[in-house]
Amino acid sequence: MKELTGAEIFVRSLADEGVELVFGYPGGAALHIYDALYQQDRVKHILVRHEQGATHAADGYARSTGKPGVVLVTSGPGATNAVTGIATAYMDSIPLVVFTGQVASHLIGDDAFQEVDAVGITRPCVKHNFLVKSVEELATTVKKAFHIATTGRPGPVVVDIPKDITANKCAYSYPKKVDIRSYSPVTEGHPGQIKRAVEVLLSAKRPMIYTGGGVVLDNASEELTKLVRMLGYPCTNTLMGLGSFPASDPLFVGMLGMHGTYESNMAMHACDALLAIGARFDDRVTGDVEKFCPDARIIHIDIDPSSISKTVPVEIPIVGSVKNVLKEMMKQIKAAKKEPDAAALKQWWKQIDTWRNMNCLGYDRKSELIKPQYVLETLHRLTQGDAFVTSDVGQHQMWTAQFYKFEKPRRWINSGGLGTMGFGLPAAMGVQMAHPDETVVCVTGEASIQMCIQELSTCRQYDLPIKIVNLNNRYMGMVRQWQEFFYDRRYSNSYMDALPDFVKLAESYGHIGIQIEKPGDVEGAIKEALAQKDRLVFMNFITDQTENVYPMIAAGKPHNEMHLGPCVSPVDTDRELA
């Protein structure tokens, strides 16, 4: 058999794994690999402008397609720059395979040029990682990496490849499957546990279904939607779960948690049975765990046993793939002698509707300043709720979650767990690469966008017609909001001084820039941008600086202690800013 170099084996392995796109940035330790990439056309390489951008782009690709995202960077700073993106993917359980170049084997440990212990640095924020020790084990390690990243609870896997290994030769064969004796995720839920769960669900008077990113990751939206409609129970989504249940369905009560709707949080607090599906009881969702769903019997479906009873004790744990468990659950519900208690349910919905009538997402529609909520509502209307929307982190992220009503899974792409500013634009690149003919919008703010603004250059190189909605309030809005509420309005370092002229900046990168300063111009600008099918358009909306995200549950408070906005109940609106 003909012998190939490690670099050739690496690239062939990716192609045989079915990888279409690799997001990366070359450098010394990765040069053999880049040379092998140059000499083939099965795997396409996307050159970013910073390694963080590569990981977020691969992440956006993965979130929007369900396929693993692939990253290739060099050793040292290449690897360290990738860490934020790896940690972002880890917190949201996104399948990524990140290949880092490493100095030659004989130099490892010598503090060689561009050497870092990539395996050591990434260990706490990966599902698993490997240092390849010989060219003979390279192809199998690549296979193992993809297997681990995409099965069970998905997550990022790092493979560190010393330079000499990419030059050494051996015969190539790519394994069809790998067997790892210490790794075998449970996929089928225990039927006995599911039976107990069904019993609790069908006996409930005030049931609630709370679902997270796990439903999206397991492509179980259809099953979830069927189950919720079969039962007629209220359904709330976490930030990561938005889109897994259609927002327009009357059974949907909105997002829950710190900036969730009044009706979903009140229903959580009052429910007597809670079905948690692929959600991890994050502190932004639970608030005070001691007062979390105080009257509820809790059922939790999750593929990761360590997610169950981690922060909140659970009565009925079901370990397994969400899709499989929901299918079995529906089978058992159909076969059950019992039906949901119609009278109790009617009463429960009556209660929920009174909460819903609070209209907790109300805002001032007569303002002479652009309200960010209005921009997002308009965006939703003009894209028929069907766009892929990425976001950065902060107020704009919460408003997008509240006002862009997602109907389908994998359309809402945001950094929920790690909360990584700078995520939105590069993630949008990955989404647009995967879906060249779809509308991809990046909702951001003037602070977040500057964290990965260099990727505007990548967007130009690959002609990515992303629509950027920059909600520019001249503040790190969420920081300012917390300072207003909890630090007696001492706006410490939250003002974004010396901002660039974003329109000119976009133009200098070869894109279209639009400045929007009046509410009356919002709709026209978005229409104009959406009509530009082949160009990136940067919409710079000058928005109301004083706007806050409501409702809000202060950190560590229970679900029934929500602050509502000024348009719902009277609170002080005469605020001064720095």
Partner: protein, 163 residues
Amino acid sequence: MRHIISILLENESGALSRVAGLFSARGYNIESLTVAPTDDSSLSRMTLVTRGSDRVIEQITKQLNKLVDVVKLVDLTEGPHIEREMLLIKVKATGAMREEAKRLVDIFRGRILDVTDSAYTIEMTGDSSKLDSFIDAISSAGIIEVVRSGVSGLTRGDKGLKV
């Protein structure tokens, strides 16, 4: 509660730091940790002593099981088990204490491995509390240095932790 967790681990470089890293990252404490190869050269056996409430211990075992390098584990303290630790201790042996130290070693069924004009080096095996008691008893002689192996253990009966 004190728990002894016994782990079969892939004999890979980095496996130990994954376990140690998990404990530091999640704020669990490690009282002792030993690791060495087994009869199967691809596997290491690790014994880890930790303390925590039932909920914390449940999380620890779940998190350990999640590590790809962890093949199997058992919490020995959940059932009948045998626990052993080895102690090497060097104590002053002068004057009246020279005889007294010797007597204590006999009472605790230890062995004196090395003798000089002024010191004994003693070996002792037992469960951790026995070693604690011996160290306490001999401390009046004047301890020069202490080395403990950390706990290792097995379940009682004919079953074993195997792949």
